[in-house]
């Protein structure tokens, strides 16, 4: 595999890990949504790094099509999640998930 594509693939895996950590460890809803977005970006980056075939040739178009669709769907999911979070906070005043033992 090409060195720069390998670099980006590893970065994608690291981004997935960072996003997953934030999704698990932080209680605020908005931060969880941001973590989900960064997880998705990590997956897309690994995909595009796999499609890369060197600076001379054009890259494989099929993963690109998948990734473009994925970006648009991720934005739709983010919008839905944000609408739900806004509704939760306007109706109850809660902006974060509380741990179980504090209930």
């Amino acid at each position: 595999m090409l060195p720069s594509a390998t670099l980006y693939a590893i970065a994608g895996v690291a981004l997935f890990g960072l996003g997953f950590y934030a999704l698990v460890a932080y209680p605020h809803l908005l931060r969880k949504i941001m973590g989900m977005n960064i997880m998705g970006t990590g997956v897309f980056m690994s995909f595009v790094a796999i499609a890369y075939r060197g600076p001379e040739q054009t890259a494989d178009p099929v993963p690109h099509a998948l990734v473009i669709t994925g970006i648009v769907v991720a934005v739709c999911a983010t919008g839905l999640a944000l609408a739900l979070a806004t509704q939760i906070s306007t109706r109850t005043g809660i902006t974060q998930l509380t741990p179980d033992e504090e209930k």
Binding site: P3, S4, A5, L7, Y8, I10, A11, A14, L15, L18, G19, Y21, A22, Y26, H28, L29, L30, R31, I33, M34, G35, N37, I38, T41, F44, M45, V48, A49, A51, Y52, R53, P55, T58, A59, H64, V67, I68, I71, V72, A74, V75, T78, G79, L82, A83, A85, T86, S89, T90, T92, G93, I94, T95
Partner: protein, 93 residues
């Protein structure tokens, strides 16, 4: 060789900005860093010979998501402030 150095710098900045976007104490600052992260990811797509993906990411992934996050952050903080104010009134009355 030069471009490999550029890739290395870009990856380092990407990871740093993702980390601080998720862990900064003030969420508004986190959203600002998240938008910077979106712009840098668009540059990474360009380096991977995917200008079509970069267009979608720059316009939709960074711009639209950042604006959505901002507007709902403002709505959530307003709702939280209102809930705290009404709770305080209930304590007095």
């Amino acid at each position: 060789m030069i471009l490999l150095g550029l890739d290395l710098l870009l990856v380092i900045v990407l990871l740093i900005s993702a980390w601080f976007a998720l862990t900064t104490a003030d969420l508004l600052h986190g959203v600002v860093i998240f938008i910077a992260f979106g712009l840098l990811v668009a540059l990474a797509w360009v380096r991977l010979q995917a200008p079509d993906v970069a267009m979608a990411e720059a316009a939709v992934g960074s711009g639209l998501t950042g604006a959505l996050l901002l507007s709902s952050l403002s709505a959530m903080r307003r709702a939280q402030a209102r809930a705290e104010a009404s709770k305080k009134e209930g304590d007095v009355g």
